[in-house]
């Protein structure tokens, strides 16, 4: 179960794509962290994640976890964004049979899952083919 507080505190990332940029070395973290893994700096400024990227890895989920059974089959990939940040996300509105590593994709705001039958509707980012 996700729960309301747990869902609410991730909203800056899931709705607004807010990342933390280390003021010491410019490395961007998504989600933001307290300590930079590159220079161990602890000062960050808030930046917005790049919207476009390319598929670095992907799979098609045929056996879905609970909360996603009605969606399968669906594609999930690791997307390398133009600012160098990588995220895991669904790739949707695409031909599953033609999806390939290197495909250009763009971020959209979508419904991601439902937290049980009476729980929260959980939103966030998915990616769609660009072009």
């Amino acid at each position: 179960m996700i729960g309301s507080a747990r869902y609410w505190r991730e909203i800056p990332q899931r709705y607004r794509y807010e990342a933390g940029k280390c003021t010491g070395c410019d490395k961007i973290f998504f989600p933001p962290r307290n300590v930079c893994s590159k220079c161990r700096g602890q000062e960050f400024e808030t930046v917005t994640l790049a919207k476009n990227g390319e598929v670095e890895a992907f799979t098609i989920i045929r056996v879905a976890p609970s909360g996603f059974q009605d969606e399968s089959p669906y594609a999930v990939g690791v997307i390398r964004l133009e600012d160098g940040v990588k995220v895991t996300a669904q790739i949707t509105d695409c031909d599953l049979e033609k999806l390939a590593i290197g495909d250009q994709v763009s971020r959209e705001f979508r419904l991601v899952q439902q937290d049980g039958e009476s729980g929260i509707l959980c939103y966030g980012y998915k990616f769609v083919p660009r072009g």
Partner: protein, 385 residues
């Protein structure tokens, strides 16, 4: 630091053990290890268990299991590092003996996975990945390894058939292991036509859901030599390394950096190279995992683990047999027990008691136990003393 030896092993038949509870499975293996070692007590107990809480609703396993063994009030410690919990429990036991804190220690692992349905088991296993930024998006564990496979195939030309050959080889070995969950051989065609779970991985690329436990007894090497043990096996190296838990936070998705780091430390400690090993027991939770581990351990060049799996090099009788036990794939994968069961197999092999799956002239072996998608790795090297 004192030198450490392993002198006793215990393990039950693995599978869907509906008639046995978590604590019964564990105590069976623990008693067998104590009797095999010929000791009348243990000074401390370590147990690897990934998720007693989610699988059977039971935490606080240190005191529970120590008392069930009739050994209370000894210190009992539960160790967790996802699927590497067992290997890490052994390492804590090793450090306890090496440091001089304890003399006779039991290292063990247990998981009781079939008291919950498939959905709940899948959820419990998924807690080894990043809950907020991987699992939230609908990825599963097979899905994460499938993404690693997609990169390995694109980058190095690893083929679907090469992955299938890993499963075929491990089931061949497991068919010769009387304690394995699945003791039947399979063909590459069967693997490649089995149901898709997460492309390109199919159900026969995946290790199963298993109930099981394993235990071993550690003592100082000097004690072992005086104890007239059946065969003294020395712990030549113990190493542990970590990496980012989320796959997307790693630069190269087709490389297991934690395994490379742990293996390099272990080879240095033991004063050997990968060429000096008789065989390896590695963490083949999925077929692609064994391919990637074989590269990160330095057994084969980067990107050539696939062709090596198809060449027979890793089969019994090959240049470096991998998973003579049948591996996680065929022996089963009760997650917390797996790392200890690898060590039990090494003991059976080094004692020359592995029956139809015996590696000829086995004298030195490596175990590699991995948590999550490789965010934690524990490597040990053992040799006949």
């Amino acid at each position: 630091m004192r030198e450490v030896a392993v002198i006793g092993v215990g393990m039950n038949r693995w599978g869907e053990l509906w008639k046995k509870s978590h604590r019964q499975i564990w105590t069976e293996a623990a008693i067998e290890a104590i009797e095999d070692a010929g000791v009348d007590h243990v000074d401390a107990m370590y147990v690897g268990c990934m998720s007693g809480g989610l699988f059977v609703g039971q935490e606080h396993l240190g005191p529970l299991l120590a008392e069930q063994l009739g050994m209370g009030p000894i210190p009992g410690t539960r160790v967790e590092s996802a699927c590497a919990s067992g290997g890490l429990a052994f390492r804590q036991a090793y450090l306890a003996v090496a440091s001089g804190e304890h003399d006779i220690v039991i290292a063990s692992g247990v998981e009781k996975m079939t008291d919950v349905d498939g959905g709940a088991a899948t959820y419990a296993l998924s807690t080894a990945a990043d809950q907020e930024y991987e699992c939230y998006q609908g990825i599963t564990f097979p899905g994460l390894y499938a993404m690693m496979a997609s990169v390995h195939m694109a980058k190095y030309g690893t083929t679907r058939k090469q992955l299938a050959d890993v499963a075929v080889k491990n089931h061949y070995n497991g068919a010769r292991n009387p304690l394995a969950q699945f003791q039947g051989e399979i063909t590459a065609d069967q693997v490649m036509s089995s149901v898709l779970v997460a492309d390109p991985l199919r159900i026969l690329d995946c290790s199963p859901i298993t109930d099981g436990a394993a235990a071993v007894i550690l003592v100082p090497l000097d004690y072992a030599k005086k104890m007239n043990a059946d065969m003294v096996v020395r712990v030549a190296a113990s190493a542990h390394a970590t990496d980012a838990i989320a796959l997307h936070d790693r630069e190269d998705l087709a490389w297991l950096a934690s395994t490379q780091v742990a293996a390099e430390k272990a080879y240095k400690q033991a004063g050997i190279t990968s060429k000096d090993l008789s065989f390896c027991e590695v963490h083949d939770c999925f077929t692609i995992a064994e391919v990637m581990v074989s590269e990160a351990l330095g057994l084969f060049d980067r990107g050539s683990g696939g062709p090596a799996a198809s060449s027979g090099a890793t089969a019994l009788g090959g240049e470096i047999p991998i998973n003579p036990s049948g591996g996680l794939k065929s022996k089963g994968h009760p997650v917390g027990a797996t790392g200890v069961a690898q060590i039990r197999e090494v003991m059976m092999q080094l004692r020359g008691k592995a029956g139809d799956r015996q590696v000829k002239n086995a004298h030195r072996a490596l175990t590699q136990n991995m948590g999550g998608t490789g965010a934690s790795t524990v490597v040990h090297i053992f040799e006949r003393a």
